[in-house]
Amino acid sequence: MSVAGINVLVEETRAIQAGAKPPLLAVRDVSTYYGSVAALRGVDIDVADGEIVTLIGANGAGKSTLMMTIFGSPQARTGTITYDGRDITRLPTHAIARLGIAQSPEGRRVFPRMSVFENLQMGASLHGERHFQEDLEKVCTLFPRVKERLHQRAGTMSGGEQQMLAIARALMSRPRLLLLDEPSLGLAPLVVKGIFDAIKELNRTDGMTIFLVEQNAYHALKLAHRGYVLVNGRVTMSGTGRALLDDPNVKAAYLEGGHTGPVGA
């Protein structure tokens, strides 16, 4: 990415923070509990239209909880979540999905006994047949592996293929905002690269807004326009992807000592 590009992004970030353009997704002071245990404590996050935003953090920091809270399961105990100017904090999950948010959940969660094709049909269930063929061709171009396996039972595919299917399935609903929960989990570096390339492609050509939860901090921050660091249910740091990558604290906690250095990437 060029220096000029970064500067533009920094400007944009400032503009968002100044409230010039309302963000597509705004998480405000959200706290989520499991029983009496707080998983999120007053989290604030903005995702602007057309951005890739990543949330990094260690195991148990509450990354997936935030993702699921945006999707209404579990619901936030306090705070508000606004999507496209609409309060979605108390909406049920399926109603949130109908507003144009799609999710590739943690652990992929494809339908194992159904064929890949049927999985994609399930993804398109909000639109039915209307533009199914068109969308099918689109995801097949993005993930040629999915096309090869169209009539295979989804549960018999490899982890990487299932991850691609999970993203492809989410894309079938033509989302404006795509939530991805650890798409790199348990995958070989080359497969991870393929998936991250696809995410970048989606953002660049379709202008899709992407909120990416990742443990693989190096790749995620390199890909994202902006990032947030979550520690014990609180956002401790935020900034552009580049700024966070260069930050000594982030480096120490998530990059150098961690499992995902720039080696071979």
Partner: protein
């Protein structure tokens, strides 16, 4: 296979493997012996006075243990051969292969079997009449056919809830009861005809299905099973105790008979026989009932097969696979579950009102937990979600025990006191165990994708994790 020369070839079993099998079989025989000692080894009989005598039966114990020893050896040998054969010819649905387009031999047989099944079902009264030499003497077979078809319909109805949507329902008989009682009460109290009551029974049962659905929406698996079980018992207890309306344990009798779309099956002027200019025979009604339940069962099947191809049917199957993923795809799981419950219940209710019109008498006795268990067993044995499997399982589960009545000739082997009917449950248990061993996923564990591009392809059940959904 090159490095394992003929070790697992069919027919040739090495000594070491054989020793293992013998050891294994001996262990089984030992366990059987342990079980037999407290249960079978002594029988109490009334002595000459009022005292009890212990009659030793060690011979029986020994023969049972020997039988188990032999059966276990045979089972191991058969499985060994099957595995060897499979190792030599890889299955068309290997994990990473795309599923085959061409139907294999098994599928061709099952397709042929399906048409034979439908053919026999359609012509059963004719076949029975020809075989037994008269309409009246065919009564037993037609009665049996009606009984089996009722269970086929119930199995198909429950299949929507359990097989497709994956919601374990142990109280299905409650809806059967609701249907039966709604026809009985509507016809005896308001004089409504069967043809009006039939859809009404479906509607009522469907409403009850929704009513049950609401509180259990959040439950899954074991918890759902317990609540539905309780629901079934509650309905039965209400039927017993609400004497004013339901007649209590005495039930409701003299329920009006079915008519041929308004024409009664009577010997009189307005009767069916007189209208159609054929000699009166009481069997006409029975044959009509047979075709009625056949039509109802096929209707259930038709609706299920259609729904499987519609979004709602696919949503049920997706719900069975992964509820969280379903919700995140924008599927309203609440509505999806409720429709499955309501539709399954509605078919149960229709079957119930058929039951009432056939029997002419109903009481809470007919709707106990055992009925739910049998219907569920039919669905599970048939292979969850498979329509043909359910039909075959219903024939085996309902028709099988009936066949025991015809085993009187075994008296020659086991002595005069032998009554095959006493062994119904034993054989039932044996059949269950055999199923667990040979077909743990049900008789027919394949499912066809509901929609596919071009050719239909079977998705083999071989790689489905057991107990999933």
């Amino acid at each position: 296979m090159a490095h394992s020369p003929s070790a697992t070839q069919a027919g040739a079993i090495p000594g070491s493997a054989m020793a293992g099998i013998l050891r294994d079989a001996a262990l089984y025989a030992l366990v059987a012996f342990g079980l037999c000692v407290p249960i079978i080894s002594y029988r109490t009989e009334a002595g000459p006075g009022s005292d009890l005598l212990l009659v030793p039966r060690w011979g029986l114990v020994a023969s049972l243990c020997a039988a188990i020893f032999v059966v276990r050896i045979l089972q191991r040998l058969i499985l060994l051969r099957r595995d060897a054969r499979r190792a030599l010819t890889p299955s068309p649905a290997q994990a990473t292969e795309a599923v085959h387009g061409e139907p294999d031999a098994g599928q061709k047989t099952s397709r042929f079997g399906l048409w034979m099944f439908v053919g026999v079902a359609l012509t059963l009264p004719l076949i029975a009449t020809l075989a037994t030499g008269g309409l009246s003497s065919a009564r037993y077979w037609i009665d049996l056919g009606i009984l089996i078809l009722t269970y086929v319909m119930l199995g198909w109805g429950l299949n929507i809830v359990v097989g497709l949507a994956g919601l374990l329902d142990l109280g299905y008989v409650a809806f059967y009861a609701v249907g039966a009682y709604s026809y009985a009460l509507l016809s005896t109290t308001f004089g409504l005809s069967f043809w009006i009551c039939l859809p009404l029974a479906g509607v009522f049962a469907g409403l009850w299905g929704m009513l049950l659905g609401f509180p259990v929406l959040r439950l899954r698996g074991d918890y759902l099973a317990i609540v539905t079980l309780a629901f079934g018992e509650i309905i039965r207890l209400v039927l017993i105790n609400w004497t004013d309306v339901t007649g209590g344990g005495a039930g409701i009798s003299s329920i009006p008979r079915a008519t041929f779309f308004g024409i009664p099956f009577s010997a009189g002027e307005d009767g069916f026989a007189a209208r159609f200019g054929i000699p009166y025979d009481s069997m006409h009604r029975l044959v009509f009932l047979y075709y009625l339940i056949l039509a109802l069962a096929l209707f259930t099947n038709f609706v299920t097969l259609r729904l499987r191809r519609l979004p709602i049917g696919r949503a049920w199957e997706a719900l069975r696979e992964d509820e969280i993923a379903c919700r995140s795809l924008g599927i309203d799981t609440t509505a999806t579950k409720l429709t499955a419950f309501a539709l399954g219940a509605a078919f149960g209710g229709i079957a119930g009102s058929f039951f009432a019109v056939r029997q002419g008498f109903i009481s809470p006795e007919s709707f106990n937990f055992l009925e739910s268990a049998i219907i569920l067993a039919i669905v599970v044995l048939g292979g969850m979600g498979s329509q043909v499997g359910v039909a075959i399982a219903a024939v085996a589960m309902v028709g099988g025990p009936e066949m025991l009545r015809n085993l009187g000739f075994l008296k020659a082997v086991f002595g005069e006191g032998f009554d095959p009917n006493e062994y119904r449950l034993l054989l039932f248990g044996l059949a269950m165990v055999a199923m667990m061993v040979w077909r743990p996923r049900g008789l027919i564990s394949e499912r066809l994708p509901s929609v596919s591009l071009g050719k239909r392809r079977a998705v083999s059940g071989a790689h489905v994790s057991e107990g999933h959904g």
